[in-house]
């Protein structure tokens, strides 16, 4: 399961981050939230969850009054004028593991949100406290940005504050100023219903961190690619299917079967079945062994990561 509100609040306490908690009936909008948490407690935030055409995701958290122009943002990210739009609900639930109404910077605590880029309104820094949902829309917390920064650093994220209302020119000599915050990995959300958002690039072609559907029994994918979205500015290199083949047993077997049948079909003219078997063995052994080694290395690395991050038993 994704992080729960209580786990998050515990974590904030462990980190000795100063915050104030407000409980209230579930709120679906900022206006509703404002009824229960007055502005004297802190600045309310609006939180938007975007995706771009290459399946990369962004949380933009801003002061309510800050104007967020999606066209401008898209250009500043280097995605052209219409490069981003609101992310679909499945992405929200699968990547951020929160419901529609409580997108929040805290959602990046989930492993599934590893590759989501988080952009925070610069104006937050002038506020004594800011208000966010702690993974639940029945609670709000107010805290100072230094507390938020401390939390983000504890999960190995660099806090990124941006002047969201700025509209710098983007052209040949003025590179998009936010391009460095585009995640280096795209994320494939397995579609349960018909394809809506993932039509542009079919899943096998992107370097992706696979998010396994909840039904398979696995909670958030521990093994998502660990590169930090905030640090790389290069666009994703589109590779053929293999990265998945190194991680996913089914894809691994599929890759083996593909290669074997391709070779079988191309050598089919050989009359002698034994000779055919010999040829297959000779031509495929080295390549398939290589595939298997990368598979093994990937699995070991996932275990290594899990070992490094496993928490000691709480007594």
């Amino acid at each position: 399961m994704g992080f729960s509100k209580d786990q998050l609040l515990n974590r904030l306490q462990e980190l000795e981050i100063d915050y104030t908690k407000y409980e209230h009936p579930p709120v679906l909008t900022v206006e509703a939230q404002a009824k229960y948490v007055s502005s004297s407690e802190g600045a309310l935030s609006k939180n938007l969850f975007f995706k771009d055409k290459k399946h990369r995701y962004y949380i933009v958290s801003a002061m309510v009054d800050t104007k967020v122009d999606m066209k401008v943002l898209s250009q500043r990210l280097g995605l052209g004028k219409g490069g981003i739009r609101m992310a679909p609900e499945e992405a929200l639930t699968q990547l951020l593991q929160v419901s529609l109404e409580c997108v929040t910077p805290f959602a990046v605590v989930n492993e599934s949100a590893r590759d989501v880029s988080l952009l925070l309104d610069q104006n937050f820094k002038n506020q004594k406290r800011c208000i966010f949902h702690p993974l639940s829309n029945e609670v709000s917390v107010s805290l100072n940005t230094s507390g938020l920064d401390k939390f983000l650093k504890s999960i190995e994220r660099d806090p990124v504050y941006v002047d969201l209302e700025a509209n710098p020119a983007v052209g040949k000599d003025q590179p998009p100023d936010l391009a460095v915050y585009v995640p280096s990995n795209s994320v494939v959300i397995p579609e349960i219903s018909n394809e809506t958002s993932t039509k542009q690039t079919p899943p096998p072609k992107s370097v992706s961190a696979e998010v396994k559907p909840v039904a398979s029994g696995m909670p958030s994918d521990v093994s998502a690619k660990p590169s930090k979205p905030a640090t790389k500015g290069k666009s994703v290199v589109v590779e053929k299917s293999t990265p998945l083949a190194f991680k996913n047993p089914e894809k691994f077997v599929e890759e083996i079967m593909d290669k074997t049948s391709a070779l079988l079909l191309s050598e089919a003219k050989v009359e002698n079945v034994e000779a055919l078997a010999e040829t297959l063995r000779k031509r495929l052994t080295s390549e398939l062994t290589h595939l298997a080694i990368m598979y093994k290395n990937t699995a070991y690395t996932e275990g290594f990561h899990a070992g490094k991050h496993s928490q000691p038993k709480r007594l």
């Binding site: 293999t242 062994t289 290589h290």
Partner: protein, 402 residues
């Protein structure tokens, strides 16, 4: 440790020069490997040894052995003797991370080492000499460390088994038992000796002088207490390019005085530049080599335009005289990378007797190299920073001999 033919100093000697920082042939000709073996005092790797490897490993010897790419050795027969009796060994190789751009020549020792790891089922340590490059190439410490990690990714992509491989960078790992061995080695090598072996002078800074022990001590199992505890007699085999020989001559000289076994070596010749044996592969000339980041188009282009051809000037002349296989680069490259012995023989025969044209040979080479680079790229894409961390973690390797 690099197969880099870039000249650091202009040498007009009538003798060929081969050392870790300079490789140049006599009068701009070809490297005379027989003379080199004589001068260095190592042995030729002959057919009988290759057959023995085949028998002991129950598989076809690696293409680099069959084609004489790895052609010289020291004590390799002793390693095989011990192996036959059930005494294992470990492998040690390395890279000097001076640049991010790796070309095929850089991959050769790693491709061979991977084969050795698989065939003999033995563990491997890989040293990234970031400190060396920081000193010799005047890089910042951070940059050399960064390059070390980036190079580690390409190395891992060659297909090493993480349960049997330990990669380390000098800046990270030097200390503890490793450093103790470094000091022991240092005590056995006088300044004069070091200057004699490596060509140091009074003008060189003391960092350079004190580097050779760093490259020497991975040959001793006690340098890796987390890997080989209590196995002080474990032998070491070092696959490397022959220009690294001086480091290990020194090491072999010192080892008995420390009560350690001498490391064995298995050495390769140099990978020629696209422009020919006399050309120099240089990081500043991207057309002198095929890089692992080259696209299929780049490869085709480079081979067609820059690969030095031994074919004749005109088709008629070519059909009459045949190609000069001695200087032809495409055939040379194929002898490194084309697995199929019979196909290579066929090409050499047809091309050498004028029936096959350069274009056809180049086409075949382009195919072979494109497939190789493609496969490398795919594997490289799967290497994450976490995987590098896993390979570089100071951890035990319980299944290292399985």
């Amino acid at each position: 440790m690099e197969v880099d033919k870039k000249d650091e100093r202009e040498s007009e000697s009538s003798e060929q020069v081969v050392n870790p920082w300079e490789v140049s042939a006599k009068d701009g000709g070809k490297i005379d490997y027989d003379k080199l073996i004589d001068k260095f005092g190592c042995q030729r790797l002959d057919e009988s040894l290759i057959d023995r490897v085949q028998r002991l490993t129950s598989r076809q010897p690696h293409v680099f052995l069959r084609r004489g790419v790895f052609f010289a050795h020291r004590d390799f027969n002793e390693i095989l003797d011990a192996y036959e009796k059930g005494d294992k060994f470990y492998l040690y190789t390395g890279r000097g991370p001076s640049s991010e751009a790796l070309h095929l020549g850089h991959l050769i020792p790693f491709m061979f080492t991977k084969y050795l790891q698989e065939a003999f089922k033995v563990p491997l340590v890989i040293q990234l000499t970031d400190d060396e490059k920081c000193m010799w190439k005047n890089l910042s410490v951070e940059e050399s460390q960064r390059l070390a990690r980036e190079n580690a990714k390409d190395i891992i992509a060659c297909g090493f088994d993480v349960t049997k491989t330990f990669i380390f960078s000098d800046f990270d790992y030097v200390g503890g038992a490793f450093y103790k061995n470094m000091v022991k080695v240092s005590k056995c090598v006088t300044l004069n000796k070091a200057m004699g072996i490596f060509g140091f002078s009074g003008e060189d800074h003391i960092g350079k002088l004190s580097f050779p022990p760093v490259q020497a001590v991975p040959s001793f199992p006690s340098s890796f207490p987390h890997l080989f505890p209590g196995k002080d007699n474990l032998r070491c085999l070092i696959p490397c390019a022959i220009d690294q020989d001086p480091y290990f001559r020194m090491t072999r000289d010192v080892a008995p005085r420390l009560g350690y076994s001498k490391p064995a070596l298995i050495e390769s010749s140099f990978f020629p530049a696209l422009q020919g044996e006399n050309g120099k592969m240089s990081a500043s000339d991207p057309n002198s080599a095929i890089y692992v980041t080259d696209t299929a188009k780049d490869i085709k282009n480079k081979i067609n335009r820059y690969a030095f051809s031994g074919g004749q000037d005109s088709v008629e002349k070519h059909r009459e005289l045949g190609a000069n296989l001695e200087v032809d680069i495409p055939v040379k490259y194929l002898s490194f990378f084309l697995e199929d012995d019979s196909e290579l023989e066929h090409i050499k025969k047809e091309y050498g007797e004028g029936r096959m044209l350069t274009g056809e040979v180049k086409k075949r080479l382009t195919e072979v190299l494109t497939e190789m680079v493609e496969r490398h790229r795919r594997s490289r894409a799967a290497v994450t920073d976490e995987m590098v961390d896993a390979f570089m973690a100071v951890r035990p390797l319980p299944s290292m001999f399985e």
